[in-house]
Each structure stands twice: as C-alpha cells, then as structure tokens.
C-alpha cells in the first residue's frame, strides 16, 4: 500500500491504528451517529495512545511525522462514520496546525500540549452565514480596547463548535481592507460573550457536532492574537493544503470502504441462481469503482509526496481534493446501487456512507473552488 511513499514504521503504525479503530470505534459508530455526537472522551483516549500528535513537534508531545498523520486519517475514515473522523480531524488537522505554525511559545505550551493529550479540544472558525471560501468578506470584527480586543459577530458550520475548549477565529481587524484586514484570535470558549447558539442537523457527518457561534462584546486579551495582526488570511492559507489533503485521504478511504462492502455483498447475494457478482453489469461497475479509487489514491499520494517534500502544491492538492471527493460520491452511489433496496436502508452501512460522502465536494472548499484554483495555475 503506497510503499513508494510510506516507510515500514508507517505500515506498522497503520496496523496499530486499524486495531484501535476496529476495537474501539467501529462497534460504537451506530450509537454515535444516532446520538449525533461521539463521546468527548474519544479525544482523551486517542491522546493517551499518542494518536493526536503525529504532525506536531516532539517538544510538545508529538512525533513530527506528517505521513503518520496521513495514515491516521486514512484509517479513521474506514470506521464507517465520517463524522467521527471529521471531529478528530478538525482538532488535529485544522485547528491545532494554526497554533503549530503561528503560536507563541506560551500558546503552544498551553494549547498544543493539552490538545495533543486530548485534554482540550479545538475548532477553527472561518465560515460565516454569508461567507465561505470568500474569506476576505467576513463580517465578524474586532476593535482594539486598551491592551485587548472586543469581538462581535458570528460563525457557522463549525466542526467541534459545540464542544470545543478553544476556537481559532478569523476576525476583521481592519474593515477597510479585504484579505489584508483579517487577524486570527485564539479564544477560550468560556470567555464572556462567547455563545454556542445552535447545533446544526446535517444530511451526513452526523456523529460530528457542527455549531453556530455568536460573539457579543466578547473581550479578549492582547495575547489572544494568534500570529500577526492583519496577517490572518495568509495564516489561514498556510494549512489549506493539509486540510484538503486530509479530505482526499478520507475520501479515498471512504470510497474503499463502500467498495469493500459492495464487493462482499455482490459475492454473497444470489439472484437468478448465481451471485450477482457473476453478472457483468455488476462486475463492471465494481471494476470501474476499483479503478477510480486507485486513480484517486495515487493522485492523493502524489500530492502528499510533494507536500511532504516541503512544497505548497496547491494545484495538485486541489486536483486531488476535486477528484477524490467527487469520486467518493460516485463510488458510494454505485455501491448503494449494488446493494439495491437494502442499500437504501439503515441496516447496511452504505446509506450512511453516501450521506457522508456528499460533504466532500462541499467542505474545505467546494469542487467549484478547487477548479478555480487549478485553472488559475494555468492562467
């Protein structure tokens, strides 16, 4: 599996994570999906096992190995509940990286160390009711107030938003400027004026909590600024490639999960006297699915290789995200077709897989935005 990229230690780590996912996540995902959240203790448990710090410096309790984190995302996505994988992913691959890149030693000591142990949970707040990928147009704003800031505004679609201990917010600090007027703030969710206004019910990703947040005259100290004032947009951009790569890795694993389930079903299910796998209409469908998955996996691994070598391969990452997230929807849709009526029920894992897959072409930058990014590199 991807041997040109991963080393034997990663193969061994994959086995460890797979054992963990099979023993401690898979048996519980039905209940977690039903409850619309996985237990917060999962962070603690994964922290104890050292699973949350793969990409982080050793001095803060991590392993400083981005490929190990890639393995973790791939294996988590096989659990059959993309929402569970998303909650963990939002913490380790979306929220904490901002602190790794831009935090002061004090911020790292406080938030990275506890985050890697799973003792604190983070979220990243960029999207607002009226702005998604158009980050320059955010309306949440902060005004300087003595040695601190006062923040007003709201955020939406915040993964982990209902339960996070801290949130990295994108906030306008200069209303006159677009991109150049954004600052990131690292805010404890128990700060006065911080409110989780509602949980959002979703088509899929049900086990992850997704929330709307509101800030009313929320005063934060000066040291809540993460990185540099008015440099927030560039800071946010710094981790986009990784966030999108993790979505590609998850999409490939999610598609593989659907394929494996459909293949096993096609070999078992008998119609007109033989397993349906023996009908060419079905076996060709599976052949197409397997081919698309391999194409997606290899495009993702190629982008991952470039990323690991230290680049910011925006084009390749956008291509990988575009292709794999769309592909995962196609593959799970065909898997559902193979399951027939049973696929449409909650008794088999495919209905949920399709719901979960549908988030891929939307979250982390839509497929349309990915095409814009790719096209721009050729302009």
């Amino acid at each position: 599996m991807g041997n040109y990229l991963f080393e034997p230690v990663h193969d061994d780590f994959r086995k460890t994570v797979r054992e963990f996912v099979e023993a401690e996540i898979i048996p519980n995902v039905d209940a977690w999906e039903e409850a619309e959240e996985f237990p917060i203790e999962l962070f603690k448990r994964m922290g104890e096992l050292g699973f949350l710090g793969m990409q982080y410096p050793e001095e803060y309790g991590g392993d400083d190995d981005i490929l190990a984190e890639a393995v973790l995302h791939e294996e988590l996505a096989r659990c059959g509940s993309a929402g569970t994988a998303a909650g963990i992913g939002a913490h380790i691959a979306i929220a904490m990286p901002q602190i790794k890149y831009f935090g002061t030693p004090e911020q790292k000591e406080r938030y990275l160390v506890s985050g890697i142990k799973g003792e604190s949970v983070g979220a990243l707040g960029i999207t607002e009711p009226n702005t998604g990928s158009d980050v320059a147009a955010i309306q949440t704003y902060a005004v300087a107030d003595g040695d601190g800031w006062i923040i007003n505004g709201s955020k939406t679609f915040i993964t982990n938003g209902a339960r996070a201990d801290w949130v990295v917010l994108a906030v306008k600090t200069d209303k006159e400027k677009g991109h150049a007027g954004i600052t990131q703030f690292l805010v404890d969710t128990n700060t006065a004026g911080f409110e989780m206004t509602r949980r959002i019910h979703k088509l899929g990703w049900r086990a992850s909590d997704t929330a709307e947040l509101a800030f009313t005259d929320m005063r934060v100290p000066g040291d809540a600024v993460l990185g540099t004032v008015n440099q927030g947009f560039l800071q946010i951009m710094r981790n986009f490639a990784w966030e999108r790569l993790t979505m590609s890795l998850g999409a490939v694993s999610g598609a593989q999960f659907a394929f494996d389930a459909a293949l096993a079903y096609a070999k078992e299910r008998v119609a007109f006297g033989k397993p349906i796998f023996r009908f060419q209409a079905i076996s060709h469908m599976l052949a197409d699915m397997a081919t698309e998955i391999e194409a997606g996996r290899n495009l993702t691994y190629y982008a991952l290789k470039l990323y690991k070598e230290g680049g910011q391969p925006f084009r390749e990452v956008a291509m990988a995200k575009l292709f794999t997230c769309d592909m995962c929807v196609r593959v799970t849709d065909r898997a559902l077709q193979i399951f027939g009526g049973y696929g449409y029920t909650e008794e088999y894992p495919i209905a949920r897989a399709l719901r979960d897959a549908r988030l891929g072409p939307i979250g982390g930058g839509t497929s349309e935005i990915m095409k814009d990014i790719i096209a721009k590199t050729y302009a």
Binding site: P8, V9, T16, G50, D63, A68
Partner: protein, 262 residues
C-alpha cells in the same frame, strides 16, 4: 525477571474464505491477511506488564520467514528488548515437537526465568509447543494460564479449566507458561515504540547456528506428519436444509421445536 516470549505469525481465517491449495497439505494463503497468533499477543502483554512492574528483560523469538519480522517488531514496539528469528529451510514440515526443539535450542543459552508462549496456535491448534519446550529444557510448565503471580523465585499461576474454573499451582522458576487469551488487555503499539523497534536488530539464527542436526528438525524430526487437509464430510447425522431463506428458516424453527431445543 528475564523473560522470553515465543510468537507466531498466522493467517487470519476468522472472516475469510479458506481453500485447500493444490498440494492438499496447506491452505491457499494468497488472499489472507496475517497477524500475530491471538494467544501470543496476550503472552507478549503479560511479559511486558511483568517487566514494567518488576523490571527485567523481554526477548521475543519467532520461527518463520522474513515476514515474521512484522510480528516481532510489533512485540518490540510494545516493550520487548531483544529479538531472535529462527529461519532455515530445514524447519519445513515441523510439527509441534520439532518447533519446540528449535525454540528450546534458541533459548537454552539465554538467561531466563519465564518463557511465555500462547496456549494454542490459531492455525494448526496443536497446543504442544510450550509444553514440549519445557520438557526439552527440563523446566516446569503450566498450560492455559489465565493468572500469574510472582513471589521471589516461585510463581503461582491460575490455569483455566472447564467452565472458567481456575486451578492454582505453585512452581519453582524457571518455567514455561502457555498463556490463554483474556488474561490481560493487550496494548496498542505506540508510534514512538514502533520507531524504536525499527532501529533494533533482529538476530537471525539457522539450524546450524542452533547446533541442530537436520535429522532432529523439520519433517525428519517430527513425530506427527501432516498428510492432507480435507473439508469436513457431510455425515449421516447432519441434515442440510436447502431452499429459500424463508422456507429453510421455518423448517429449522420446526425442527428445533420438535426436538424440544427451544
């Protein structure tokens, strides 16, 4: 406490289709995934827990090809100190006794207080290696061990009997313990442990290195010879229900009721 743990790489057949290969003496392993023998996994954990509690060393030993390094490395990653792998074409065709001879030859020069094996291998299910090794080394043994208590140079172990009953026996060290599943909760290997294990050398030993003659090991040294595998034959007592699931289910329910089983 210096300990040796013997581990075996076995195919995972629990949820796979199993086919006999063309030789008739093995199964087709091409599509199977492999892992550590389940009981051996508990044996590794038991040794590491004792080491963490009382100090000492854990040496991991496996007989098998290069692919067995995978299982050895995982045991090292969990806390094993050193490792030896026994590999020689002459080991082919070994039964439990011949395997025990090789393992005994490998451990006899090591300093050890306890040798752990799994109680039973998932693939051939002989359950013989640990006990045979104890006999060859001339040390005490206990099989199907579900509890271990160490008191000085003695050891008290609980052996699992029928119905979950434990039989406690006390013996002098050194001893061989064959470990039953469920004795503890095997840990996951951490990535830090995996990285450390990757740097450790796995010492390779051939039959000659162990001072074993070809006549003692492999098929020549085995008391039992594997002749062939066959799928179970449908006996006269078995009734196979055929037809649509609805129909067979209702017939099955009828039979169970008729026999007073439900």
């Amino acid at each position: 406490m210096d300990m040796v743990v013997c581990v075996k790489r076995v195919p995972d057949t629990a949820e796979s289709e199993v086919h006999i290969d063309s030789s008739g003496r093995d199964i087709d392993k091409g599509r199977l995934s492999f892992g550590i023998n389940e009981a051996d996994n508990y044996a590794v954990e038991e040794a590491i827990q004792i080491k963490e509690r009382d100090g000492g060393t854990v040496t991991v030993i496996s007989l098998g090809g290069k692919e067995s390094d995978e299982q050895i490395r995982m045991a090292l990653a969990k806390g094993g100190d050193e490792a030896v792998r026994l590999e020689d074409p002459a080991f082919a065709g070994s039964d439990g006794l011949a395997i025990a001879k090789a393992l005994a030859a490998a451990v006899k020069d090591l300093k050890y207080d306890i040798i752990f094996t799994g109680a039973l291998a998932d693939d051939d299910a002989f359950g013989a290696v640990g006990v045979a090794m104890a006999e060859l080394l001339g040390v005490n043994h206990a099989a199907y061990v579900k509890k271990v208590e160490i008191a000085g140079d003695k050891i008290k172990v609980g052996r699992e009997l029928e119905g979950g009953l434990l039989e406690f026996v006390e013996m002098d060290l050194p001893a061989v313990l064959t470990i039953q599943t469920g004795i503890n909760e095997p840990r996951y290997a951490s990535f830090k442990g995996i990285k450390l294990a990757a740097k450790k050398e796995i010492e390779l030993k051939s039959a000659a290195d162990l001072g074993l003659d070809a006549s003692e090991i492999g098929e020549a040294g085995a008391w039992a010879k594997l002749e062939k595998f066959t799928p179970p034959v449908v006996g006269e007592m078995a009734e196979i229900l055929e037809g649509e699931p609805e129909e067979t289910a209702s017939r099955l329910a009828g039979i169970l009721k008729e026999k007073g089983l439900v």
